[in-house]
């Protein structure tokens, strides 16, 4: 049984069908990437899983237990940690205190939460900045802090929303390494949305492609980048006709986005 099951989930906003009959599963201890053009419904789907929205139809289950419609803090308690595309650090608090807030979800004492928070900051490479105010971090470090905070709650599933947006290529490569490490060492499952294909290709075991709110393809990365439907939605029909050689497609899909 997959860790996360999304079954026939739909959500509309005033008639706009943001997510339409989406079904997919995420196996435990894997990294799944949710990709698609802007407006494909990725963030809506994320918010449905994280409990920020209630689905109009369909079921979302974590380890077989229905979580759709639960309030965000209950979804967290059920075992899902999330980050935000527009980072939301507790700016007036120290980096360590930010992580302690997350760790308190799973720890009864402040001392226990502090130990957990320090371990998580170490994992994310933020130990040296533990006593800085979160407001003084760079964007790349704020993204790391988002992961640290969510990870501190000891989730079984980590939702990462556009972690790489706005980062420099070197920062992206560093963060990819950190996330691989996190997934392995913390034995956590990751579902991420991402526009930066280089990061997706480096991280994902499985890719789910969303277009106009529907799943148009899912599978291993190598298969996805050769899928005609995917290429069409990303590049338009003309591109497929022109790019007869496989290398060209590979280059388009895996080149760093700058």
């Amino acid at each position: 049984m997959p860790l996360l099951e999304v079954e026939d989930v739909s959500k509309a906003f005033r008639g706009l069908r943001a997510v339409e009959g989406v079904t997919f599963g995420v196996e435990g201890h894997t990294i799944t990437a949710l990709i698609g053009p802007n407006g494909a419904g990725k963030t809506t789907l994320f918010n449905l899983i994280a409990g920020a929205y209630r689905p109009d139809r369909g079921q979302i289950r974590l380890r077989g237990k229905a979580i759709s419609g639960l309030a965000p803090h209950r979804v967290c308690a059920a075992g899902i940690g999330r980050t935000f595309q527009l980072v939301k650090p507790f700016a007036g608090m120290s980096v360590l205190d930010n992580a302690i807030v997350g760790a308190l979800a799973g720890e009864r004492t402040i001392a226990g939460a502090r130990t957990r928070a320090l371990a998580v900051l170490e994992r994310l490479g933020l130990s040296a900045k533990a006593h800085l105010a979160a407001s003084r971090l760079t964007l790349a470090d704020r993204r790391r802090l988002e992961v640290a905070r969510a990870l501190a709650t000891r989730p079984s599933l980590l939702l990462l929303d556009e972690m790489m947006a706005g980062l420099r290529p070197t920062e992206i490569d560093e963060l990819v390494g950190v996330l691989r490490n996190v997934q392995r060492e913390e034995a956590v499952t990751i579902l991420l949305t991402e526009h930066v294909m280089r990061a997706v290709m480096a991280l994902a075991d499985q890719i789910v492609v969303l277009h106009h709110g529907q799943v148009i393809a899912r599978g291993e990365p190598a298969a996805i980048v050769r899928d005609p439907a995917v290429l069409e939605c990303y590049l338009g029909e003309d591109a497929i006709e022109e790019s007869t050689k496989d290398e060209t497609k590979d280059e388009i899909m895996t080149a760093p986005v700058t």
Partner: protein
């Protein structure tokens, strides 16, 4: 001298000065110090809601008034003293706070709208008590004042020093309670909610529950200030008990001293009273009587602090004195 010893020496000196103040000072000094501590205590209570949890109340006079009238009503009509009355006051104010909090947080009223709601309830109480003849109505409710020379702790009656020590004890207690809570789960969760409520929810915090806790604790603490106010003043009028001006006066201390800090409300209240009443007294000595000079001084102080010390008086002062600034 090490920083730790200097802190200890300084704290000790302040504590001793506060303890012997009624023995060495005249009645005027004691009354000014009592006023400062009253504002420090009420400011500490307000700070729990706004400074820690980020929920702005502009109507804290509601809880001062309700607490005052509850205990005074019991005393005047049934002869029940403040030690029993304070529990009724705390119960009534907790319920009022819970009601307003529930209404606001369930209907997702936040920010400016929440502040307006708190003003509305204070105004509602002011008008309501004007029509409550059993508690004196607009003509006022007066507590019988007996012999003031000996201390009667049971009825909370005595010379000015009695009230001074009572409010000093309350302020110290509130400080200790806040210091305790800040270092524990409530402190972390309140500050997280203050900084970003959506992120707090995503980290498993039931923000409704913790905001309710802040509001109820804040109103319950303010209720005790109301009981003190009733037995210190001995006369209550709806017009002044529930006045918007008092709500502003309560929040000025923490804002000037340092929002969300432990010592800010105390430092701010002392600065307000020293400068406000000091100027008034100084002008009176030179024969000038300027009505409203106190409020004008408060306004200027607020302006200067906002421009030059946006985090309040305490954080920079704490650095100078060698204390860690606790902007938590």
């Amino acid at each position: 001298m090490s920083a730790g010893r200097r802190r200890l020496a300084l704290s000790g000196a302040v504590a001793i000065a506060l303890l012997i103040l009624p023995l060495v000072g005249n009645n005027y000094l004691v009354s000014v110090a009592t006023l400062a501590l009253f504002l420090a205590y009420a400011g500490q209570a307000w700070n729990v809601m706004m400074g820690f949890a980020g929920q702005l109340s502009l109507g804290h006079s509601l809880y001062v008034g309700l607490g005052a009238y509850a205990s005074a009503g019991l005393f005047v009509h049934f002869g029940i003293g403040p030690w029993a009355g304070v529990w009724l006051a705390v119960a009534i104010c907790s319920l009022a706070g819970a009601f307003i909090g529930f209404l606001a947080f369930r209907l997702r009223i936040a920010g400016v709208q929440l502040s307006l709601l708190t003003i509305a309830f204070a105004e509602l109480a002011r008008i309501g008590f004007d029509h409550l003849d059993w508690l004196g109505g607009p003509g006022g409710l007066f507590l019988p004042v007996s012999e003031r020379s000996h201390v009667d702790l049971l009825a909370f009656r005595g010379p000015p020093g009695t009230y001074y020590y009572a409010i000093l004890l309350l302020t110290a207690g509130a400080l200790a309670l806040c210091a305790f809570l800040l270092r524990r789960r409530p402190g972390y969760y309140w500050r997280a909610i203050r900084e970003d409520e959506v992120a707090a929810q995503a980290l498993g915090i039931d923000t409704f529950r913790w905001k309710m806790f802040a509001v109820v604790l804040s109103s319950a603490m303010t209720a005790v200030a109301g009981v003190f106010f009733a037995f210190y003043n001995n006369s209550l009028f709806p017009e002044q008990s529930f006045s918007f001006g008092r709500s502003i006066e309560i929040m000025l201390g923490p804002v000037i001293g340092g929002l969300g800090t432990l010592f800010g409300p105390i430092i701010g209240a002392v600065a307000l009273v020293l400068l406000g009443d000091g100027t008034t007294e100084l002008l009176a000595k030179t024969g000038v009587d300027l009505p409203g000079i106190r409020q004008a001084v408060h306004g200027v102080l607020l302006l200067l602090v906002t421009i030059y010390m946006p985090n309040g008086l305490w954080p920079p002062l704490a650095r100078v004195l060698g204390f860690e600034p606790r902007r938590l």
